[in-house]
Symmetry: C2
Subunit: 214 residues, 2 copies
DNA sequence: GTCTATATGAAGATAGAC
DNA sequence: GTCTATCTTCATATAGAC
């Protein structure tokens, strides 16, 4: 661990170089197939410098995933839907979220975490909290506002499940499709269409115009 | 490849032993972290027997994933919803599908494929076709029947997207949650609730009682 | 702190007996 | 076809100079 987490950790230039090189290599190859030689070469430093930053390959890998997850959390938390109406809010939020998870790095991070979370269970938890759990919580808040404004009713499912269903619709089958077809990422136009279709279906299922038949 | 695919391949007893042992090891550790020693020991045979079945670790891994995907396709195709009404059909289908993908092996297969589909792109394609694409096609057929019966209208999204949205709702956030928290699998009761909630939301969004406002 | 060079162990694959 | 024993390669990690 070595100074992870809350306490500040002002990385030196070389340390940052190592961390970024290790990120590239681990995100591309996963833990086991990546070698410290690759990382060393990519960073342009010697092996001793790599091991001066973290004392083992495993510790380096954990640092990389924690760093990537922290970056993702930050990106998700920075989403600030401007619009006042629910539809516009959900669309802005959806666009930003899909932009993150459908990026090359977003997809690669997901693949690596899935592949290694059996060996590193802590990383599975961290990823879950950083990504899905965070966006669901944010959606939940916006939905609760919309309930108070009378736009939608969530009595049938509860706020939490409704938020989860929205995020699932948002991600959609396209997520699995692109995860299993590496090297390709969707265009902005495709993402826009997915978002509109997800928001559309969600609002049809939860809009107040329908009777909230519990 | 060596006699994969359409042509029959009557595996000898030892070959099957090796294949099953390799399946266990690869599904637990992924490709790189698994060793031929583990497979050899688990199968109770010598290393020469392992290499007599497939000529390299990579070929053995491909055989394992193809076999697991074929088994999954078979399981999905065997789902035969009995009920005549749409709601019952979707529920039966959903229950069976979630039973497959939320099993220990189903979750493990997904993790391994995700982790290795960068190195083995063909396996990503195979998995996509075996799992998500297959279930979506089946849902599509049932939805089309329901449209002709006048139960639902899919003009807004088209049949294909509607089917994809249903499958996404079905899988839900729970899928990511259990993927990132290995060793745990949901109870049958939980799966039942997820299915009911997914079907409920889906039918609310697509039922004919709503005006198909294109 | 950083580099070069190296020790050490492990894993994929094979040779040769039966 | 199967087993025992082994070869060879390569990756993690360290020792020692600067």
């Amino acid at each position: 661990m070595q100074d992870q987490g809350v306490t500040a950790k002002p990385l030196t230039e070389k340390q940052l170089t190592v961390l970024l090189a290790a990120s590239d290599v681990f995100l591309e190859h996963g833990f086991s197939a990546a070698t410290t030689d690759m990382i060393q070469q990519r960073a342009g430093v010697s092996k001793a410098t790599v091991y001066a930053f973290r004392t083992s390959k495993e510790a380096l890998f954990i640092a990389v995933i924690e760093h990537q997850c922290a970056k993702m959390t930050q990106a998700v938390r920075n989403i600030l839907p401007a619009s006042g109406d629910l539809e516009g809010t959900l669309k802005k939020l959806g666009l930003a979220y899909l932009g993150i998870i459908f990026s090359l790095k977003g997809l690669a991070l997901y693949r690596v975490v899935m592949g290694e979370c059996q060996r590193f269970p802590a990383l599975g938890h961290i990823f879950w909290q950083s990504g899905p759990a965070t966006i669901v919580k944010m959606v939940e808040e916006y939905l609760q506002n919309a309930v108070q404004d009378g736009d939608i009713t969530l009595q049938r499912t509860g706020t939490h499940l409704a938020a989860r269903q929205f995020v699932s619709l948002l991600r959609g089958e396209a997520y699995n499709e692109y995860l299993t077809h590496p090297a390709a990422i969707p265009t902005d136009g495709q993402i826009e269409r997915w978002v509109e279709q997800a928001v559309d279906t969600f609002l049809r299922a939860f809009r107040c115009s329908e009777k909230p038949a519990v």
